[in-house]
Symmetry: C3
Subunit: 137 residues, 3 copies
Amino acid sequence: MPFVRIDALCAASDRPDRLDALGRAVRDAMVETIGIPPDDWFQVLTGHDGTTSTLRYGDYLGISRDEGIVFIAITLRAGRTPEQKQALYRRTAELAEEYAGTEPRNVFITLTENESIDWSLGHGLAQYVAPSEGNAS
Amino acid sequence: MPFVRIDALCAASDRPDRLDALGRAVRDAMVETIGIPPDDWFQVLTGHDGTTSTLRYGDYLGISRDEGIVFIAITLRAGRTPEQKQALYRRTAELAEEYAGTEPRNVFITLTENESIDWSLGHGLAQYVAPSEGNAS
Amino acid sequence: MPFVRIDALCAASDRPDRLDALGRAVRDAMVETIGIPPDDWFQVLTGHDGTTSTLRYGDYLGISRDEGIVFIAITLRAGRTPEQKQALYRRTAELAEEYAGTEPRNVFITLTENESIDWSLGHGLAQYVAPSEGNAS
């Protein structure tokens, strides 16, 4: 269920490997910390060339960021505890460094929550709610 | 008002037609099921080449997905009923198949809700709230 | 903290300058109207060529829009007042015109709110919550 967008600056030659590594880092961190099954993997991975599309970032909160910045935006159902979210952040930063060489200072994550009825994972159905909750026939 | 992002993998030659068909499918489904006017059409349609940018997906919930996967992320005001959302999912999957040849198993939809004050549809105004609700002059 | 996506149609030759101007317009409007520090600047700026990726828009609410359309999607913590949001919309439209030549009718903005725990701005930490609110060690 979590739907994830990962945006990074990268040269054309680096793209497939770097994006793949970042995608695996986020997926594995979710599996380990917030109870997501390994095949619950839905991501848009975008490498920005700095011209056609690009990223902007500042040193907000005294954190020195650079062109290694990675934006990770996760949409997921409400219900994870603060402790789980904090564990997710820590593990994502660790694995982004381990898999992709991204420095932890450059890992930017934001979560947006919605509800069970807000997901259709295929076949035009709302899999997280019982059919009787709606008018599905 | 709904603001929609549609992400699909597609070869360069397929892009304009396929993206157009997917965009129309989502728009028409909204018109038919959740009362959106036909000209209330705001979408970002992105074709991913699998290298510069790409998608990841698994077989979560036992649904076999493939490179025909389409991610549809819709931001809209709160207020649609579960029945309306379920109708939207069903009709979107039907029209994505009819217009774009996308198999229903590959249609992934997620909704994120916000409030009337969270929209400005042009001219720097918040059209969904009365000026007296804010300090607009 | 606000995390911003800006999407515009633009010819390859216009991209870097136009995207840069739009990014500065949104940033400066936030600084002036909703109390964001200048270095709290996190944006994904995407120029769409109309083929690989593209935008769709209608004349909803009687506003005539054209290929100068700009979609600005802002994720931020809950708490801004309606007055602040309206000021943000007005100032963004003004600065988009001043910096990028974008007509106010083409400035489309939507906000999505989340909570303090939903942000990690680097180092795998949730900077907006006290460590004691979670299990951070």
